[in-house]
């Protein structure tokens, strides 16, 4: 247990160090903020003294020294204006620092995201990464801002108050110092009790959230099976548990405030009694006592705040650690220093002794050789989940081979820039992806400078023009993230248009027409055929009709290439391909 807390502390320290590195860029502002905080604290502490002095001059009937009172009031006025100004500038500084540090962190995280290998991204849930970049950074920002505004002023206020009190009167100060630790004890006692309750609460909340995600995300299925009542019951059960543990957590944690306020009252009473007794013996003036009383009020307040800030900061650090974890993630292998820019691609692709697997324990592609000449069509077939997509991952260098090499135009793809390799391929995937923006933006993605005519020509070639025309704003129709109201087939047509516009020297079509009906597909096939003319292309499909004309057919099963040849030779061989082919006619 002790060991684990130690470990936690060191990891917190490293996180803190990283945070400080981000803040360092703004050291001028931080310095200014700290100075202003000091000014604010000193002035706020000075004002009660002035008030006390003024009160001391109000001795009684016809004994008020107005000159003195005015002089003091003037001082209070100046101090007050200075404090307010310092406070505002300080707050503005803190805001600026916090939000810009957060911006820097987010940008670093996003930069890393663009560089992370797909191996990492494919194995994570996107929700988790998004919540790191958004929610965690947000919580961190809240904590950081609170830390800036309250921690430093809080500590300064305590120290300053102690100093002022000591200077004014030692015995009363001792009374204050003796009572305050009680406040700590109370706060600590409550915090240790509530920790487990909060944990239970967040666990129950997590359970509920996943039920919500599941049931609301798939609500149509719920309705199909008329399970609404059952699901509601399930929800009610968790909701009931959540109510119980939330109540406990919230109630017990909310005890901190009244309890520390109670300690505060004790301090106040102590100062009052002790000070008054002292005053009778002439040990302190009434004005000074009043000043002390207001200190007694101010003194304990920062303690409450600091204990709050510390929990908040710990929370913030935990969130920061999660985002730094993402930032520190190993990026993809950097490009070789003098990486070659792939140009004038004719379409020579060669795979030499390629072996690859996602996880070492499970071998996938082994010792695979393939030579594709310019303009050839390579089709990859096989049952679902057999690793067809893996080959594409390797060609595009989304993943690197474990051994062997892939050559394009006779050069190892690891020696060229990723950008030049990837833009040499035109890729249409089964999983259509569109970005939020206009239809035109989406088609132009690969060639932003394309003219209107070119865009329309590409859309026509992809048989997307007619449905785009019918949309309310035509090519300027804004679609929401992931295509929104468009049907799966329409989205796929747009993805095809996107590639049609670029016309790169090589093509990869991964189930590119799986959601399009066969008649439209047939028409698109013609467009594809024109496009593939003279272009090396790789086609994944489960409709065998679409691949019969390929020059090379690779038949994959369980990650291995089990047969290789063209349609006729494979049929004649009577192997797996022949079985697959005949199955589609079985009734």
């Amino acid at each position: 247990m002790a060991h684990s807390t130690e470990k936690k502390n060191t990891s917190q320290m490293t996180t803190l160090k990283t945070v400080l590195q981000y803040i360092r860029k703004y050291w001028l502002l931080v310095g200014l903020s700290l100075i202003l905080a000091a000014v604010t604290v000193v002035l706020t502490l000075y004002i009660p003294i002035l008030t006390g002095n003024a009160v001391d001059l109000l001795l009684g009937k016809d004994a008020v020294k107005f000159d003195g009172v005015f002089a003091i009031l003037k001082k209070i006025g100046i101090a007050m204006l200075l404090t307010a100004a310092a406070q505002w500038v300080m707050n503005t500084c803190n805001n600026h620092i916090t939000y810009h540090v957060v911006k820097d962190i987010r940008e670093r995280a996003f930069h890393r995201l663009e560089e992370l290998p797909l191996k990492y991204l494919d194995s994570r849930s996107y929700g988790d990464i998004v919540s790191r970049v958004i929610a965690d950074v947000d919580t961190f920002a809240d904590g950081l801002l609170m830390g800036f505004t309250q921690l430093f002023t809080g500590v300064l206020t305590i120290l300053g108050t102690l100093l002022f009190m000591l200077v004014t009167n030692v015995p009363i100060t001792l009374v204050v110092v003796c009572i305050t630790p009680v406040s700590f004890l109370v706060a600590k006692f409550i915090a240790s009790r509530t920790y487990s309750m909060f944990k239970l609460q967040s666990e129950t909340r997590g359970e509920q959230t996943s039920l919500i995600e599941e049931m609301i995300g798939n609500q149509k299925v719920v309705k199909i099976f008329a399970r609404e009542e059952k699901v509601k019951e399930q929800f009610a059960e968790i909701n009931g548990r959540l109510e119980k543990c939330s109540l406990k957590a919230i109630f017990f944690s909310s005890l901190t405030n009244p309890c520390t306020r109670f300690v505060n009252s004790l301090v106040y009473a102590g100062v009052g009694i002790f000070g008054a007794l002292l005053a009778i013996r002439g040990g302190i003036s009434v004005g000074r006592l009043s000043c002390f009383l207001s200190y007694a009020n101010q003194y304990t307040k920062p303690f409450n705040e600091i204990s709050g800030v510390i929990t908040e900061l710990q929370n913030a650090l935990a969130c920061a650690a999660r985002i730094f974890e993402l930032i520190d993630e190993e990026p993809q292998v950097p490009e070789v220093p003098d990486a070659y820019v792939l140009e004038n691609v004719r379409g020579n692709v060669k795979l030499e002794n390629v072996s690859f697997s996602y996880v070492p324990e499970k071998k996938l592609i082994e010792n695979f050789n393939l030579e594709v000449k310019p303009g050839q069509r390579v089709a990859i077939v096989g049952p679902t989940g057999c690793g067809k997509t893996t080959l594409i991952n390797l060609l595009m260098r989304f993943y690197d081979v474990n051994s062997g090499r892939i050559l394009v135009e006779g050069k190892d793809i690891r020696e060229m820039t990723r950008g030049s390799l990837r833009t040499s391929y035109g890729m249409v995937l089964q999983e259509t992806w569109l970005r939020s923006g206009t239809i035109r933006d989406n088609i132009c993605m690969g060639r932003p400078e394309a003219t209107e005519d070119e865009v329309i020509a590409a859309a026509k070639a992809a048989h997307a023009h007619s449905f785009i025309k019918r949309l309310p704003e035509g090519y300027d129709t804004v679609i929401t993230e992931d295509g929104g109201s468009l049907s799966q087939g329409q989205k796929q047509l747009l993805c095809i248009a996107r590639v049609m516009l670029c016309l790169p020297p090589m093509l990869i079509l991964d189930e590119a027409t799986s959601s399009i009906d066969t008649r439209t597909e047939l028409r698109i096939q013609n467009a594809f055929a024109t496009m593939m003319e003279g272009r090396t292309s790789f086609i994944v499909a489960h409709r065998l009709s679409t691949i019969q004309e390929a020059d090379i057919i690779l038949v994959m099963k369980d990650g291995n290439i089990i047969e290789q040849g063209n349609h006729e030779t494979l049929l004649a061989a009577g192997g797996f391909y022949a079985n697959l082919y005949n199955a589609q006619f079985a009734g």
Binding site: I47, T51, L58, L59, K61, V64, V69, I76, A84, Q87, W88, N91, T92, Y99, H100, L118, Y126, V130, I134, R205, S210, E214, I216, G217, N218, K220, I224, F225, A226, R227, V231, N239, G240, S246, I250, P258, R261, S265, A269, G272, I273, A276, I280, V286, S290, L293, S294, P383, G385, R422, T423, S436, M445, F467, G489, D517, Q548, L580, A583, A586
Partner: protein
């Protein structure tokens, strides 16, 4: 907000008691300066040690009473807030569960989830804070003013000026910042959006080598976010300094006024201190209030979003209750099992009809294939059978009864559906199959599994029926999920079974076996099969060919091959060599 308040109704007692005890606490807190004034004037002034001790004890008693009152208030506030949010959450969940398909399409899943979770949590802490503190602050502020009146009317007039001034500052800034916070929130949405986009579209973005441009876009968004945050921060930062100036200005005025009054002999030193103390108390309260206002502002915005969900009208297509759903059978003649009588469908908000004039009859036990192009309305057609969308023209009759006259339960118990997206739920294979039939026996389940060609899937798992299924069935492959969702519908033993392109992930061989098994189903199940594969529906008793929302053909495979161009074209696009054969035969 008003809409949501009714969920607080069951916690009326708590919602009244919490502020009441807060009031009590505040009251005792307000007594403190008076006691202190008495210590100073009578105790110190009169050199009366006994009085000081007595008053000191009095302070302690006040502190204890204050503590007890505060703790009680916290308890009631927590209870009301938690109870309120629990009720609200359940009501919202129930409401969302009750939404019909049209509204589900409109709403959007991710925003529903945020509303159910983080928005409600925000509102909960808002309610809690309001009960605890929002009432305390005005009580202290006005209480301090009243106490000041009891001491000295002239000095109290300064309170009368200062307090409205403070109110203007606090509420003015609140009004000013509220829309700005909303803007910050929408900027954050954009940052979230682009982050998600870059994750879901990572392959496309990298394929087009757009990483750097994406980063630039991201930086633009974060820049806008930081700017809006800094701007609203600047304005909120005005609150504290300005209140500080107002309060301290009031203190200067109080001392000045006090000096005159003391000089005239109307006030004592202790009384001046008491009045000044009251003013300081106001300052402390206002600082707390300022911190609160952000919470409240956020909670109000969230409450608005939640109320927005409740406002979605929830008309069911079908009858809500079971009453009076007796069959209104037509008289005379044999009644066809299921009739589409000139049915049309226009989705809410859509400009054009999705389905136009669907007119056909189905006999019990028949297998009906539905085929057609992308967006031709296949899914829409089958979604009408369980009444998921309201028909906008014509009628659908089951056993002669218009389905609009049937209750939701009655109809849906008779229809089993396998949706396009194969979704399983967290639990076990058994618990998923129980969705079809709560009390299904082991035997019934295995029967369904066999028909769905899923035996090898289930037997390949550790624990068989009790094998664990992760959320959304993530631990199963697409084909495995699809077979299990078919089994789930079969466990129900529905009179009408609808397969909405639900065998797309199966290879041809398994698909064929599945169809063979379905044909052998006992009990006259009427089956609808939606597919893009001609092979899948080829042997159906009846094939409906859809083209752009119109019925382009109806009949058996052989009939359609003869008289339906659309069907022939679809068929030949999948069997090119048959086209050649047909051409040859035609030529002969």
């Amino acid at each position: 907000m008003k809409r949501l308040l009714k969920y607080l109704k069951d916690y009326k007692k708590e919602s009244v008691l919490a502020p009441l005890f807060k009031l009590l606490e505040a009251f005792f807190e307000l007594m403190v300066p008076l006691v202190m004034a008495s210590i100073i004037d009578k105790g110190i002034g009169g050199q009366d040690t006994g009085h000081i001790v007595k008053m000191g004890l009095c302070l302690l008693v006040l502190a204890v009473i204050g503590l007890v009152a505060a703790v009680t208030a916290q308890f009631f506030a927590a209870k009301a807030a938690v109870g309120f949010s629990t009720k609200l959450r359940q009501a919202l969940f129930d409401h969302i569960q009750g939404l019909n398909f049209t509204n589900i399409d409109k709403a959007g899943t991710s925003t529903m989830i945020t509303r159910m979770t983080s928005d409600i949590n925000q509102v909960q802490s808002g309610v809690n804070m309001v009960l605890r503190l929002f009432l305390r602050s005005p009580i202290i502020v006005f209480g301090a003013m009243i106490m000041a009146f009891t001491i000295d009317v002239k000095s109290a007039m300064i309170f009368v000026v200062a307090i409205p001034l403070l109110a203007v500052v606090v509420f003015g800034i609140m009004m000013w910042t509220m829309p700005l916070y909303k803007k910050v929130q929408s900027n954050l949405d954009k940052v979230l959006g682009i982050t998600r986009e870059n994750l879901t579209g990572v392959r496309v973005i990298r394929a087009f080598h757009k990483e750097e441009e994406e980063e630039k876009r991201f930086c633009d968004y974060t820049e806008a976010l930081a700017d809006s945050q800094t701007f609203v921060g600047k304005i909120s930062a005005i609150m504290n300094p300005v209140t500080y100036i107002v309060v301290n200005g009031a203190i200067i005025a109080l001392i000045y006024c006090g000096a005159i009054q003391v000089n005239l002999g109307n006030l004592s030193q202790g009384e001046v201190i008491a009045i000044v103390n009251y003013m300081s108390q106001i300052l402390v309260e206002l600082v707390k209030l300022a911190n609160l206002i952000v919470t409240i502002t956020k909670a109000l915005a969230c409450a608005d979003r939640i109320a927005g969900v409740f406002e979605i009208e929830n008309g069911s297509v079908l009858r809500e209750s079971e009453e009076g759903s007796a069959d209104h059978k037509m008289q005379g003649g044999e009644i066809p099992f299921l009739v589409f009588d000139h049915v049309s469908l226009t989705y809410a908000g859509a400009g054009a009809e999705t389905l136009h004039d669907m007119n056909f009859e189905v006999r019990k036990g028949e297998t009906v294939g539905i085929i057609g192009g992308t967006g031709s309305g296949k899914s829409s057609l089958v979604n009408l059978i369980p009444g998921f969308y309201p028909v906008t023209g014509g009628a659908i009759r089951l056993n002669g009864t218009d389905i609009r006259n049937m209750s939701e339960n009655e109809l849906r118990n008779r229809v089993g559906m396998v949706p396009q997206k194969a979704v399983l739920f967290k639990g076990t294979i058994r618990s998923n199959l129980q969705w079809g039939k709560e009390d299904a026996t082991e035997e019934e389940m295995w029967q369904a599994i066999d028909t769905a060609q899923a035996r090898e899937v289930v037997e390949g798992k550790i624990g068989k029926l009790d094998a664990e299924v992760a959320q959304n069935g993530k631990n199963l492959s697409g084909g495995q999920r699809q077979r299990l969702t078919i089994a789930r519908a079969l466990v129900k033993k529905p009179e009408i079974l609808i397969l909405d392109d639900s065998a797309s992930a199966l290879d041809y061989a398994t698909d064929a076996k599945l169809r063979a098994a379905l044909r052998e189903l006992e009990g006259n199940t009427t089956t609808f099969i939606v597919s893009q594969r001609a092979s899948t529906i080829r042997h159906a008793d009846k094939i409906i060919v859809l083209d752009d929302g119109e019925m382009a053909g109806l009949g058996t495979h052989d009939e359609l091959m003869k008289n339906c161009d659309v069907y022939r074209e679809i068929y030949f696009s999948q069997y090119p060599e048959e086209r050649l054969k047909a051409a040859k035969e035609g030529g002969r």
